[in-house]
């Protein structure tokens, strides 16, 4: 069987000692940083990106994927132990997870989260392996017009399924597109938005932007909220779920996995929507919905399975179409570009060991994560008690050096500081920086394909609507936008993001 052969190829790549070590290291460091309150997966991946510059491409991507799911798991640990969601996808885990922790069942909650994530991770990885190649086959038939429409659908999907104001999110995408134009235009050689600074002729580097918007801005926000004190964490008695717990948790895990995987493939879906949807589904199907919020184990298992499934399902559009469905995948694409890899349908054919190696490493990484985390929970708890006053200078140092060593330029550090201020201001103004990142990554591709599609059609803008695939993608995007504007849908969307 082809799938099996491919997976075996992938396993042979990812089980090589080097890559296994990188996968392990990524998951460990990712968890380490992800556990720190206020640093979600996006910030963690952004901050640790420079660590992977000195690795071969396959190793770098395996490590980044490890960092990513490690930080996702670390975020759940913080949510359960101190009731602080590291990022939006672990908000719902706080509800029942921390309630369990208050009842002295923090260990059980953490183990449930880890095991539910493991199950979801394995199922979704297989889904990626099955669904990726056919999707890439479709994408190979795409021309520039189809790519433009697909990107528009991705961007619109990303803003409609995220929460907050749709117009503001669109504005953030546009700002990202503007930032992506800084530098020399590849077609004409004209410089744009450089303010005469030679350091900007090559465009804005991806790392200072991501680190500023996510890393620095999150440090500033956390300092504002906590003032730098340590956290009081719940105690951990026993780790192992009782038989009764398992009986309640496993159907919830399966439902959460399905929900998360489905929502994760959608552009903009991602982990947050998955976990919220899975939580409300559990509440609906439960015979005792009143238990939720008071330490129901299903309320931990389902959203944790869903956010892990969704965050891995995001890899499907990223790897097979080259279109990032959310900010983290945009970071992954940025990392691939730094290594000279163009994500998209050609990857699977041209670099099978890269594609399949990465997928197989996800299987291994999920297992490593459980082996790593269950015995080390005590260590994470201790780390959480370290006052933030000691931690954040270390994080700052890391951000600065990572950005500086990009090409030994203080200018990039300066840019990072500016984007930190911008990111903090945008957050205060209720403008999410994630769509900005998407726009920034997709900008050059969008501009190039837009120009090419118009050139091929002889300047006829209707080409986007008249070509069948392109037209139906655009129609879907338009439908999504119209749905969003309808008041009844809006109300339901707002309800879906309420946390009770």
């Amino acid at each position: 069987m082809d799938l099996l052969g491919n997976l075996l190829l992938g396993l042979s790549v990812s089980l090589s000692p080097d890559n296994l070590l990188l996968c392990f290291g990524g998951a460990l460091i990712g968890t380490l940083i992800g556990v720190l309150p206020g640093l979600g997966p996006t910030a963690t991946v952004a901050m640790l990106l420079p660590l992977t510059f000195y690795l071969p491409p396959v190793g770098a991507l395996i490590m980044l994927a490890g960092i990513f799911y490690g930080s996702q798991y670390g975020g759940s640990a913080t949510a359960i132990l101190v009731n602080l969601p590291g990022e939006s996808s672990s908000v719902v885990t706080c509800l029942d997870g921390h309630a369990m922790a208050r009842q002295g069942r923090a260990g059980v909650a953490l183990a449930t989260a880890a095991l539910a994530s493991l199950f979801a991770g394995i199922v979704t990885t297989i889904l990626i392996a099955v669904a990726g190649p056919p999707l890439a086959g479709v994408a190979l038939a795409f021309g520039p017009a189809e790519y433009v429409s697909l990107m528009l659908l991705g961007l619109i999907g990303a803003v409609t399924l995220a929460h907050g104001s749709v117009v503001k999110a669109i504005a953030m995408i546009l700002l990202g597109l503007l930032l992506s134009m800084v530098g020399t235009d590849v077609n004409s050689g004209d410089t744009r938005f450089t303010f005469g600074l030679p350091q900007l002729y090559d465009g804005i580097d991806f790392v200072p932007l991501a680190m500023g918007l996510f890393g620095l801005a999150e440090i500033i926000s956390s300092l504002e909220q906590t003032g730098g004190a340590g956290q009081t964490t719940a105690r951990i008695a026993s780790l192992w779920p009782k038989r009764e717990d398992v009986r309640q948790a496993w159907p919830a895990t399966v439902r959460g996995t399905v929900m998360g995987a489905l929502l994760g493939i959608l552009p903009g879906g991602g982990a947050t929507l998955g976990s919220f949807a899975a939580y409300s589904l559990e509440k609906k199907v439960s015979r005792h919905p009143e238990r939720f919020g008071h330490g129901a184990i299903e309320g931990v298992a389902a959203p944790e399975a869903a956010n892990n499934a969704a965050s891995q399902a995001c890899f499907i559009p990223m790897l097979s179409l080259g279109i990032p469905p959310n900010a983290i995948m945009a970071l992954m694409i940025g990392a691939m570009t730094i290594h000279g890899i163009t994500p998209g349908p050609q990857i699977m054919a041209k670099q099978p060991e890269l594609f399949w190696g990465m997928i197989a490493s996800m299987l291994i990484g999920n297992v490593i994560l459980v082996i790593l985390n269950l015995p080390m929970i005590g260590l994470w708890v201790r780390l959480l008690r370290v006052p933030y006053g000691y931690l954040f200078p270390a994080i700052l140092v890391f951000c600065c050096i990572g950005t500086y060593t990009l090409n030994n330029s203080g200018f990039n550090v300066l840019l990072m500081a500016l984007f930190g201020v911008l990111g903090y201001a945008l957050r205060k103004l209720d403008c999410e920086p994630a769509p900005l990142m998407l726009g920034f990554v997709l900008g050059p591709m969008l501009e190039e394909n837009l120009g090419r599609a118009l050139l091929l059609s002889g300047g006829d803008p209707t080409v986007f609507a008249t070509r069948p695939i392109s037209g139906s993608l655009l129609a879907t995007a338009a439908l999504l936008l119209i749905l969003m504007v309808m008041p009844s849908v809006r109300r339901r969307r707002d309800e879906a993001f309420k946390d009770d």
Binding site: L175, L216, L223, P393, E447
Partner: protein
């Protein structure tokens, strides 16, 4: 917001930050129904106008062969439109109040990073890290001098070990 809002307020539209804060605290009414959205809308529109102004002389070409000015102008116009929508809605409907800003962490974190950017090339890695940690320390509850020195020293040593010895990066270490 509990109190009904009406017409143009006679209250002075002073500095955004403190003024809104005080009014919210004293239960009076703010001059704008959604100050936060108003600011967001104006900021978005300003970015759009800035882009249009900077790109005013760039050639747009024709649809059949677009030039370097086409995309910036298109995005700039869309941003102005989006900014106008947000601003307009902020003037018509109720929205979130002006948030409080964490000036202290914002200023000191930014200052620390800028200081690092300015010193790492001229003074070298170790002094730059020490300055970064020293200034950054003011962003939260400051540590006492001894722990602060230990932290700075440990971080500087760790950076030299990891980046200079470990990864072999060509970094200047001392002034």
């Amino acid at each position: 917001m509990p109190t009904p809002l009406h017409g143009p307020s006679t209250a002075p539209r002073g500095t955004p930050d403190g003024a809104f804060q005080d009014r919210k605290a004293s239960g009076g009414h703010a001059p704008v129904r959604a100050p936060l959205d108003l600011a967001a809308g104006l900021l978005i529109a300003a970015f759009g106008i800035g882009a249009l102004w900077l790109g005013r002389d760039w050639p747009t070409g024709t649809l059949a062969s677009v030039q370097s000015g086409f995309f910036p102008r298109m995005i700039g116009m869309l941003m102005v439109l989006a900014g106008a929508l947000v601003t307009g809605r902020a003037l018509l409907t109720h929205g979130a109040a002006w948030p409080s800003w964490g000036w202290r962490p914002l200023i000191w974190v930014t200052a620390a990073v800028l200081a690092f950017a300015g010193t790492v090339e001229t003074l070298g890695l170790v002094p730059a890290v020490l300055i970064l940690v020293g200034l950054g320390n003011l962003a939260g509850q400051p540590l006492r001098p001894v722990p602060l020195l230990l932290l700075g020293g440990a971080l500087a040593a760790g950076c030299v070990a990891l980046f200079v010895w470990g990864l072999g990066l060509p970094l200047r270490v001392w002034p």
